[in-house]
Point group: C2
Chain length 358, copies 2
Amino acid sequence: MATSESSIPETMRKKVETYIFALQDEIVSAFEKIDPNAPPFKRDSWVRAHGSGGKGMSCVFSAPSPDPTSSPSAQEPNTVLEKAGVNISVVHGMLPPPAIKQMRADHSSIPYDGTSSLPFFAAGISLVVHPRNPNAPTVHANYRYFEITEPVTEGSVDPGKVVAWWFGGGSDLTPSYLYEEDAIHFHSTIKNACNQHGSELYPTFKKWCDEYFHIPHRGETRGIGGLFFDDLSSEKHTRLSDDVPRPKSAEDIFAFIQTLGNSFIPAYLPILERRMSTPTNHHQRRWQLLRRGRYVEFNLVYDRGTKFGLQTPSARIESILMSLPETARWEYMSDMGSDEASEEGKLLEVLKKPKEWV
Amino acid sequence: MATSESSIPETMRKKVETYIFALQDEIVSAFEKIDPNAPPFKRDSWVRAHGSGGKGMSCVFSAPSPDPTSSPSAQEPNTVLEKAGVNISVVHGMLPPPAIKQMRADHSSIPYDGTSSLPFFAAGISLVVHPRNPNAPTVHANYRYFEITEPVTEGSVDPGKVVAWWFGGGSDLTPSYLYEEDAIHFHSTIKNACNQHGSELYPTFKKWCDEYFHIPHRGETRGIGGLFFDDLSSEKHTRLSDDVPRPKSAEDIFAFIQTLGNSFIPAYLPILERRMSTPTNHHQRRWQLLRRGRYVEFNLVYDRGTKFGLQTPSARIESILMSLPETARWEYMSDMGSDEASEEGKLLEVLKKPKEWV
């Protein structure tokens, strides 16, 4: 178990761990507060002893629909959320040579001899929230810290010397119906958060987000974007010039991560609150489920984290696939969205051609 | 357009094309006959001119649910099928060197110089039928013919000399609830079809099917199996010893394919007919939708045809994703199926450990 870290109170490992657990609690409480009659999130702590070590906590919301045969009026529960997960994981283990080789592209400080494995540590928070109302957007956020260390002797309590570390993360919005004021609110909130740490961060990570959450076979982005970034450390960064001011020390990047993490609630909750009770109909629900089908397509076919997770033999599948919506729908040659002037068509337009919102 | 083939009436290309169009018509008619009040399949011919050439016909069934707000009693249409597609495609184009290199593993006759592309031709029928009743299983079948030829001069009407050809295909059943008699009926029908062409075909292709339709991250097969095979030609086959009697000439393999194709209706329709009106409830529907989630996971993450299709720039996405169910569901740590003695648990048992049905 990861007891070794706790003996070194001021390591970045520990700081990140403490921060993400607090953020998880804050976010889950915020969602519970806006819907006090809904069942609480299910809090589910886990410990992984198999192979490598780790621990985590899943906080998951679900409200399975009641049996419509027993009560004809009760078709759908009327909770604000339909399915949501806010997960923490703090894991460590050994990286095999092929994984090291790949990571060296962005982190030249990692020693690589083609045969040795290296210890890694990863801590992160990952969340996906699918509200029930088709007018309220799905949201995703993820913040993570990764460390690679020198090998240590069996039984040593201290981790080896850190040879590489970086932060990654982001947050993005996936509406079924486009409300421009929501898109603008979400993007301005995260832009303001970024700007406290450097003016190039928002434009660079906004663009990266549009590129990352792209579904090539549909020619659409998954949603209306937000931020996406990886490999943020003191080393050279492929997308950020060394000339522009940006957080470079571990402390400064961690401060940036905290500003972003803390901006999640102000960026998303006001949107959820103003859309969660919008009158809706079967047509809108159908479109929402079709859009959730696209969400499934992106996550299962393209998302790097999901693909990596599914290929990891001892991975916790339930945590990896927590991001999938409760229900998704596929229609052959659906007519929905084909009329450019319709509300569905207006969404598709911005998914086919990402827009600058702020 | 692919007019060049029609000028050579007796080529295998033409024979396969004629056969699969007739089979498609026969299968679609059979489904329409058992549910005369349902809307007919939508027949949708297409021609691809962009890049390479091709044509096809999609026959698709859907019955979108009516608006429940307008008629409280009409929650779900009461059609036998929920979503179904029976597709034909007859395409030709150029195979790039990496694809040729991969195909040479099983077809050493293909010339490969690392830089040239080679013309290919592919004709196939592919079908997926998702019935509405949770007691009626989903079925999939696919039969295809592939040919690689020598390059021809621009504008030539005849295709070049065939340098490699092969058949592939199979059919498999995916129930949400296990009825042993259905599994036995399906497997005996296809085993009898196989046995007319060689006694090793069923055991070899049954095993291959269990291996292929495996979802590693779930430790489950997609369904209760059937047949899967590929690369069947006069060349050596990696899974069939040269000592055992098996169809080897193009004519004999085509005869085998026809026996299998013709066995689809007798293998599946009696099962559908005896399960399509079984009384059902919300609990069963929920389980069926969870199982459809697994179907989506397999098809998007592992199915070679789907993955290949999604990566092909000019591919017809609607045809490729036709196999997806109308609705699928994901629950975090679902309790359904965890009780081994339940009907859901009994299905999981045979998915975790494939069984010999006949």
